[in-house]
Structures are given as C-alpha cells and as structure tokens.
C-alpha cells in the first residue's frame, strides 16, 4: 500500500464527485411525502404596526392551507432566553410573527402555506395587509451622537483593551501625523444557496429539520427551547451547504417558521427564502472608523488611536471586534481604542467572514499607508519598523508568528523592490497608470470543545463522525485526511459524516476554528480507536507487537508497526479479522489545553500585495495581480487552504471595488436587493492571484498545530486595493467601495 501520509498534501475534495454529480443533497432537495410549501410575506415598511391582515381572502384560494401571522400563532416560549441561540448578541432576539409591531423593512409578517410552491407564492402576492406607519431611523450618519459602548453580550466579543501610554500627547508631539475617517457600507453574505428548511413530520410531534445552517446543534437547541420539544424529537440535519460565510451562524427565521407550520399542521413543510429576502436579515454592518496615527522621526509609531462606530438593531446589541487588532498588529506604546454601536430600525447585523477584522483592517491599513507616506517611508518598510514581537493588548508573547517571513517572502515574490514611492509614478506596458499597495491583518486562532466518534469494521472501513458543518470550506476532506493518517488507512477507506444532531456535538462552523477544534477531536478519537486495535494486535498469535507499548507503534500504509523497526508489523485488516469483532468503536471529546495556551497570544497573520491599473480618464480600476502571504500554523491541505485564500481575495476585491447594500433612508429599505444590482466580482474582474503559506510550527495552539484559514486571507485585501489606487492616482479614497465616480 502506498503512503497514508495525507496531512499537508493537496488532497482533492472527497465530496467533490458528489457535488458535481448532483448526489450531494442540500436542504431544499430532501424529498419527503405529503409536503406543504411555505412562502414568507415581508413587510414593505421599516417601522409601525400591522393593523389588519386580510387572511380570509387568501384562505379562500383552493390549495392554500394556512396563513400564519401574529394573529394566530400559538403561544410559544415566553422568555427572551428561550430565543437566544449560542451566538446571540445581548438584547432581545427577534421573534417572527410575535406581535403586530414592525421593527425593520422586509420583516416577515406572515407565512403562507399551500399545496405547492407556486400557489404559496401567488397567495403571498395578493395577501392584503394594512399597516400604520411610524417614523423610522436607518441612517448611521444621523445617529453618530447616539453611539454607546455595548456590554459584553456576545460570545467572542472583547471590549477594547484599556488605553496605554498617552496617545493624545504623543500625537501632538510627534513629527509626522495623520488623522482620517474611513467608511464602508453594509454588505450581505449572499451565499449562493438560499436559506431553506425542509421539515419532515415524523408523527406524534416528532420532526427532522433539514436546515441550511452552520451549526445543527445551535438550531436544535433554539427550536427545542421555543417549541418545547424534546431533543430526540427534533433532529436537525445539514450535510451540504451552498456557502455560509456567517449567514448560517444564527438560526434563521425561515427555520423557525417552517417548524412552526409543520408542528401546527402536523405535516411536512418546506420553506425557502427568496433572493430578495436574503437581504432581510443579518449583514456586515455599515461602519465608520476614525484613525489618528503619529510616527517618530525613525519611522516608529508614536501614537495610535482607532475608534469605530457601527449600526445595530433596536432589539439587540450586535458586536464584533473592530478595533482591538490595531493594538496588537503593530508595536506602539501609546494606544487608545474605542468602540461604539448605534441603534437603527433594521435587523441585527450578523458575523460575516472575518467579522470586525475585515472592517477594522480597512481603517487601520489605509491609515498605515497614509502614515507611511506622511513619514516619507515605503509602506512595507514602515510596517517592518513597527513589527510587534509581543501582543501588547494582553502583554503576552505570540505562540508563533511568522509575519516577518510573510513580509519578506511576499515582497520578494511580488517584486516589491521595483516599486517607486511617488503616486502616479508607475505605468504598465500599455502605458496605463499602475499602483502597488500593501495591507494585512491578524486573526484569532481559536479552539473550541468538540467531540467525535469513530468505528472500524472488519473489512478495514473507517467511519468518523461529528456534528460540525461544511460551509464548502473542505471540512469533509481535511477530516478524512486526519482520520486516514492517524490510522494509517487509505483515504478511500474513510467515510466522514457531519451535520446531524444524531452525531457527537461539535461547535458551530465559524471563527476559523473548525480545523483546530474538530480536527483535534477526530485525531484524538482515531487515536483512541487505534489503541483498541493495538490491544487486539497484541493478542494475535505470534504478534510482533506483544511486548510493545502504544507509544512505540505507529499506523501507516495499512499496517500497525514498531516505530523503531518497520519490519515488525501487522496488517490492520488482519488484526480486525483475527479479533472476530465485527466492529470496533471509540469516541472522545477534546477541550483546548488552557494551561498550555494561557501564557500566549494565539493568532494568525497575513500580508497582501496588490497591483491595480487605473484608467485615469474614466476612473475604472482593475486588480491585475494579488499576492497573499499567510502565516496560519500548519496547513492541513494545500489545495483547500489555497482555495480559502483565493476566495478571500476575491471577496476583498469585491469589498474594495463594488460590494455595498444601498439603503434608501426615506423608506428605510435596502434597494439593490438582487444579484443584478448587488455586485460581487465576476470572472472578468479577477486576474492573477497568488497564495503563499509560511508554515509555523506551533504545539501551543492545539495538538494539530493549525490556526484556521477561512478568514485570515480577507484581512487587508480591501485596504491594499485602496492603497494601490492611491499609489496609481494620488487619490485617497476613504469610503469604500472605490467606484468610478470616486476617481473622476
């Protein structure tokens, strides 16, 4: 048998064939008998009250089964805490169809259930609802003065650290200074797959919900608390997902409504949101950032202030870590960080890929560019002079940090030394203005508690399972790699199962912690199974391993053998067959090793080099070249990891040049709520993207030494594009996206 060393290799996706042949089943594709179809009716107004719902007119249509609204929803859980999911921010979660009150435009106000989808959709279009409208406030600009510091309501949120040094004085006294405000608008996740829940009615109050979610356990606990169901009676399944990006972290109102209808009607129900309704819930918030930096004559940072304000809803305090990164990415003794949110009549924002850091790195990394220019320094050189060896926010060393290598290797590969500093000083072969910009960032390397189970049958087939999610990131693949390598099996012999509350509990898929958390659980479970196999191997007649200890053996190439002497080996399948056991099983649960981690700051880093060309007359920008150098611990799979970074870069280019959900404040409503008008990059916008990993050895972050790769690649991309545009044109655009009109 050939090698079974898979970790680090560019293994192709194990779920690829199922996806391209259409056998991978998504939430909207589960076929169950006697299904009814739901369609959500959304509010046209942003604030007010429903005064009348003419449900009778719609119920008269043959085939319409029911119209659910606040008027007929059964009494459900009473307290807010029952509606809190695992990642709910502070406040009072939104409850669909709870009362007559309208809190945001596109709020779900009724659910039509009919015998078929088309009829439900039609009924929704003719349902007359009367509203009493009230004045709404949706503009963050007008609410600046009403910003406040939120409490620590949400898991993972950390209020900014206390100021250090004397940033105001240091700024006043420094030779080089800058201050500026940076803005970006709201952005919606818009995964390709629409939110869907197919609820299978299993009789006697039992359901299975096939739901688009990044965390089946989160949805299960949410549903069971609200509807008073027993866990066994509420199974939640999500085996495949057409993208999440954070949109599926919190249980969606569509899941609540579908389950409500199924339980009331005692019938299977499917509910899919429309693309327009994909703009009706969480999003990356519109954010205003103010930065004030100063540099000493030697190019070291004298002072750094970073303040951010973003929107939240009237009912929840959405928080993300926007400014904290600025206190740890660069060395600076005088730092003040501030963070506020302001309430608006809209839905609560929601974590979107690298929440907080993606926004914060726009402000910080454009400001660093401005500061470098003010100090007369190359922007990369300026970063090198301010390299942070310790995390000054918590005053701890990093468990590992090879950002300096990223700077050097990235710059060399990009050819940064050929850059001339003056704006407008470089042109490409066609004589077009060309600009080179740099940016980057820092992201958390987190591990969460996770459990897994594994079983191996006499024919040597291994099944490993845990209820994590698969956003499309490559989870199936890397977990199969870890399992195969741990037990020395060919990857084809491994089946990995996920996304089902019948499986051991894993955290939500988010925060770039899946590889570390679930990967550690898979490794530990497979090792536990290995120990059982080892004991059986010792019992075999004439076993060469009879006197060995478990630490002395290794699993490789289908064998169990002595590390010191590979000729002392048994074939795994022979062990299983000789044992007479049909199946061996093991399970385990892994927690982060807090004792080991406590003395360190655990983070991944990146730097992005960007080339743009700009048509100076017409204001068009093309990102012709990007190099993203990433230090994120050990890379489990070069191919899927690279894909994560490529996707991040594409996303960053979108953020820089086109992505923005535009609100008409008169209506308090997002207006470009479709894919024709909400622009994300298309193929023609994307040119060369290069990814470089600087691997770090780190046994502190977790036993696997991985830091996660799903989000770090986004950091600084948008800023680097904006910086490159400045380098090309001399125009400093501080409100993203950089569209044609801002360069005319």
């Amino acid at each position: 048998m050939s090698t079974t060393n898979y970790i680090g290799k560019p293994t192709s996706r194990v779920d690829g064939p199922a996806k391209v042949t259409g056998t991978a089943t998504y939430a909207a594709e589960y076929q169950v008998a006697n299904m009814a179809y739901g369609y959500v009716v959304s509010s046209p107004i942003a604030k007010g009250k429903i005064t009348k719902i003419h449900a009778d007119e719609v119920l008269a249509l043959p085939g319409v089964v029911q119209v659910f609204s606040h008027e007929n929803v059964p009494s459900l859980a009473w307290f807010d805490r029952s509606y809190k999911d695992l990642v709910a921010p502070g406040g009072s979660p939104f409850r669909a169809l709870h009362d007559a009150e309208i809190k945001f435009s596109q709020q779900p106000v009724a659910l039509i259930v009919a015998e078929n989808f088309e009829l439900a959709r039609y009924a929704a279009s003719v349902l007359r609802i009367e509203y009493q409208q009230e004045d709404h406030e949706t503009s963050l600009e007008t609410q600046r003065a009403k910003g406040y510091e939120p409490g620590a309501g949400k898991t993972g949120f950390q209020p900014p650290p206390a100021p250090r040094g004397n940033p105001d004085k240091a700024w006043e006294e420094a030779p080089h200074r800058m201050e500026a405000e940076y803005v970006h608008g709201a952005q919606h996740h818009n995964p390709m797959e629409l939110f869907t829940t197919t609820v299978e009615w299993r009789g006697e109050g039992k359901i299975t919900a096939y739901d688009k979610t990044q965390g089946v356990y989160n949805v299960q606990q949410y549903l069971t608390k609200i509807f008073g169901l027993k866990k066994d009676d509420c199974r939640v399944v999500n085996e495949y997902m057409g993208g999440g990006f954070g949109a599926g972290l919190r249980p969606q109102y569509s899941a609540f409504l579908a389950v409500l209808a199924a339980l009331e009607l005692k019938r299977s129900v499917r509910l899919t949101l429309t693309r327009e309704q994909m703009f009706s819930f969480g999003h990356r918030p519109h954010t205003l950032q103010y930065l004030k930096l100063a540099a000493n004559a030697d190019g070291t940072l004298a002072a750094l202030q970073h303040h951010a304000l973003h929107e939240t809803s009237q009912f929840e305090d959405y928080t993300e870590n926007v400014v904290n990164w600025s206190g740890m990415l660069y060395q600076c003794e005088n730092v003040k960080l501030g963070y506020q949110i302001a309430k608006l009549d809209m839905y609560t924002p929601l974590d979107m890929r690298a929440p907080g850091a993606a926004s914060g790195s726009i402000g910080l990394e454009i400001a660093m560019d401005e500061m470098a220019y003010a100090a007369g320094l190359d922007p990369l050189e300026f970063r090198l002079r301010n390299y942070a060896e310790r995390d000054q926010n918590v005053d701890k060393p990093f468990s590992s940090k090879k950002l300096r290598d990223c700077y050097h290797q990235g710059a060399a590969k990009f050819g940064w030394d050929k850059r001339t500093q003056a704006p407008g000083s470089m042109r490409n072969g066609d004589g077009k203005l060309m600009g080179w910009g740099v940016g980057g960032g820092v992201w958390d390397a987190t591990q969460q508690k996770a459990a897994a189970k594994a079983s191996i049958t006499a024919d040597g087939k291994l099944t490993v399972s845990t209820a994590t999610g698969e956003n499309g990131t490559g989870t199936y693949t890397i977990m199969s790699q870890i399992a195969a390598e741990t037990l020395g099996l060919p990857i084809e012999a491994v089946t990995f199962k996920l996304g089902d509350t019948d499986l051991p509990e894993s955290p939500l898929q988010g925060g770039s912690w899946t590889a570390a958390s679930v990967g550690s659980a898979v490794q530990s479970t497979c090792a536990a199974l290995g120990e059982k196999i080892f004991k059986l191997a010792q019992k075999m007649d004439d076993s060469p391993l009879r006197d060995a200890k478990f630490e002395d053996v290794e699993f490789a190439s289908g064998q169990l053998r002595l590390r010191a002497d590979h000729s002392q080996a048994v074939v795994l399948r022979d062990v299983l067959q000789a044992s007479g056991e049909a199946k061996l099983e093991a399970d385990s649960s892994v927690m982060p090793n807090m004792v080991k981690q406590n003395g360190y700051s655990l983070h991944s880093h990146n730097v992005v080099f960007v080339e743009v060309t700009v048509d100076e007359d017409l204001g068009t920008v093309h990102v012709t070249r990007v190099l993203n150098a990433v230090a994120a611990g050990r890379i489990l799979n070069l191919k899927t990891a690279r894909s994560q970074v490529l996707g991040s870069v594409v996303w960053g280019i979108g953020m820089a040049l086109m992505e923005e959900t535009v609100m008409d404040h008169k209506f308090g409503r997002y207006m470009n709520h479709n894919f024709a008008e909400y622009h994300v990059p298309v193929n023609a916008d994307i040119h060369d993207i290069d990814v470089l990993f600087v691997e770090e050895e780190d046994d502190i972050v977790n036993p696997l030494g991985v830091k996660g790769i799903g989000e770090v690649g986004m950091l600084g991309v948008a800023a680097a594009v904006a910086n490159a545009v400045f380098h090309a044109t001399g125009k400093r655009v501080r409100d993203l996206p950089v569209m044609i009109d801002k360069l005319l």
Binding site: P44, I45, S105, E118, R121, Y122, S125, V126, D615, D617, L618, G619, T620, H622, L657, M658, V662, D664, K666, F667, R669, M671, N672, H673, N674, A676, E677, H679, P681, V682, N683, A684, D685, M739, I740, D741, L744
Partner: protein, 340 residues
C-alpha cells in the same frame, strides 16, 4: 407571480389575434426580462403568447444592401452572424457587452428593444413608481438614482433604458417593423423609444397589441471606424452607467459622416444628431471631440447619486470617438474583455 395561461403562436397573424383576444396578455420572447418582472409581481399578465415558434428568427440581406434582423433571432445569434460581424461590428460589440452568454442565448432582438428599466424602485413594489403605477410618484427623484438618467428626464420619471444593443442600433438607425391589429407599419428607430414626459408608463410608441417582427438595418455600417464603450460597476454582467456607440466616416483626418448615441443616460437610447452634425467636416482631433462631448451634456441634469454621469459621459464620448477615429476596433471573434 399570478396564474396565467399560455399559447404558442406559429404565425404572426395568429400571435396578434391571440394577444388581442386576451385583455391582460403579453408576448413572450426569451423571457429573460418578462419572467423576472412576473416573479417580482411588477408584470401580472394573465395570458402569455409564446413567440419562439414564429418564423422570425432569420437574419437576411436586403436588396438595398441592408440587413434584416428577425425579431426572434437571439441576441447571441445576431452578434455572431457573419454579416453582423463584418458589416456592423458596432452592433456585435454592443450586444456582447450586455448581460451574460446564457442570457444572450435566450434573449431575442424584439425582447431586447422592449426590456424595461432597471430602476430599483420600478422593481420593488414597496416603493412608489410612476412607471409601474402611474400617479404614485417617482421614488428615484430624491432617492438612490445612481442608475438613472441625466438627459431628457421629466418630473415624473428619470429612468433609463438599459439596453446595450439598442445604443448601437440608435447609431445605426434601422427601421423597426411591426405588425398589429391594424396591419403592418415601420417605425424609425429613433422614434421607437420615447422620453418619459408625463406618461412614464409608456416606454415606446408601439400601439396596443403590436408585435415587433424585425429590424431593417441600412447599408451603412461604419465598419471601419466605430467604437462601443461601456462603463459599469464591474467588468462584466452589469448594466451600463454610461455607454457610447460611435461611428465615423473619414476622408484623411476629416470626418465626413458621424453617428453618436449614448446608453445609461436617458429613457431612450440617446442619439444626438446635432452632435453628429457638429462632427461632420471637422478634423478628427481630441479638440473636436471635446467640443462635441460638451455639447451633448450641455443640458444634462444630475439627480444626486448620478451627478457623476455628466462628467463620465463627457469623457466617455471623447474616448469612444478617439477609438473610432483610430479605427483599430474589431468585431469580437471570441468575446475578450475589452473594458477600459
């Protein structure tokens, strides 16, 4: 989307009769616009007359040297037709600058002329819109109007016609052939689309029930000196913020004939014949182009978020005329991205 019946016509007369006998009916070409509008409940026909079996998919040379484009020929087949590529490369470029290959494969020439505006408010029933619901008000005025017009707007509507193909057609000046309950007639292209005035619900001058059967292009195709320049918020698959179709005839460096039309700026593809006349007899220099560009936008009016279109249109006109004069534009064989 409301329930509707559907019939498929195989002869023009049947299609016209079928439509006339159903009060709330619509013709259905490729469906790339109408079906979307039905899903959004902007259009609520109770009957659709399917046109795709009509014998109107041909493209044929006319005795006067012109070219007839069937109303049911797809945008893709039209763009890639040999005669179009060699004699009307401006049209080839404009069609290929629009939508996506999938859409162009389905979209028909008739449907392209008839496609409705992309004004956000027109598409969203939660907001007033005079074009969708006459008398309800125009939300784009004072609202988010980045995609709206700067020329020929009215107090009741500032929407634009979104087509790329039609901008090239405006420059090439074909006649539109129509059949209706009262017989056949032709309409000069420039008279086909209209300005909003106080009837923004009317996009064009078709009479109720009339069917477009084809377009007759005149012989002159400006195949040597032309340019279609489209500026948009991403490199492909986005509607034009501003587009320019330019065609020149030159003797030496002197302009002897000129065509100039703009997209993304008005309720109709905006051909400016005065500007064309200004070009004639002039040297093909940047100076000339600047004067002409200034003239085209002299009466332009911004509405806030689209103010930039005035300057952008000016610069785009200069660039397009320059490219046309240089004469190194070609019909696309493979659609390479030729964005500025």
């Amino acid at each position: 989307m409301n329930p509707f019946t559907y019939s498929r016509a195989t002869a023009v007369a049947d299609a016209v009769r079928d439509k006339a006998s159903h009060p709330d009916s619509e013709y259905l070409g490729g469906g790339t616009n109408l079906i979307d509008l039905m899903k959004e409940n902007v259009a609520r026909p109770t009957h659709l007359v399917g046109l795709n079996k009509l014998p109107l998919a041909d493209i044929e040379t006319l005795p006067d040297g012109g070219l007839r484009l069937g109303a049911l020929a797809t945008n893709a087949d039209t763009a890639w037709h040999d005669e179009v590529k060699s004699r009307y490369p401006l049209l080839n470029q404009a069609i290929l600058a629009g939508a996506s290959p999938q859409l162009r494969n389905a979209a028909t020439n008739g449907g392209n002329l008839m496609q409705r505006t992309r004004c956000y408010y027109f598409y969203d029933l939660a907001t007033p819109c005079n074009k969708r619901e006459p008398g309800s008000g125009c939300s784009a005025i004072g609202g988010y109007n980045r995609v709206c017009g700067i020329l020929g707007t009215s107090e009741s509507c500032i929407a634009t016609h979104p087509s790329d193909m039609c901008v090239a057609l405006a420059a090439l000046a074909p006649t539109v052939r129509v059949s209706g309950p009262n017989g056949d007639r032709t309409i000069a292209f420039d008279d086909f689309h209209r300005l909003p005035g106080n009837q923004p619900e009317k996009d064009n001058t078709l009479e109720p029930g009339e069917l477009i059967t084809g377009l007759d292009l005149p012989a002159k195709g400006f195949e040597k000196n032309f340019s279609y320049l489209k500026l948009r918020d991403r490199s492909s698959y986005a509607f034009a913020l501003v587009s320019v179709a330019a065609g020149l005839e030159l003797e030496g460096n002197t302009i002897t004939d000129a065509r100039l039309a703009l997209g993304g700026v008005a309720h109709k593809p905006w051909r400016d014949q005065e500007a064309e006349n200004m070009l004639k007899g002039q040297p093909a220099t940047e100076d000339t182009f600047r004067r002409v560009a200034a003239k085209v936008v002299a009466d332009a009016k911004g509405h806030g978020s689209n103010d930039f279109k005035i300057e952008l249109a000016k610069r785009a006109i200069v660039r397009a005329l320059k490219q046309a004069a240089e004469g190194n534009q070609h019909a696309a064989d493979v659609f390479l991205n030729s964005n500025p």
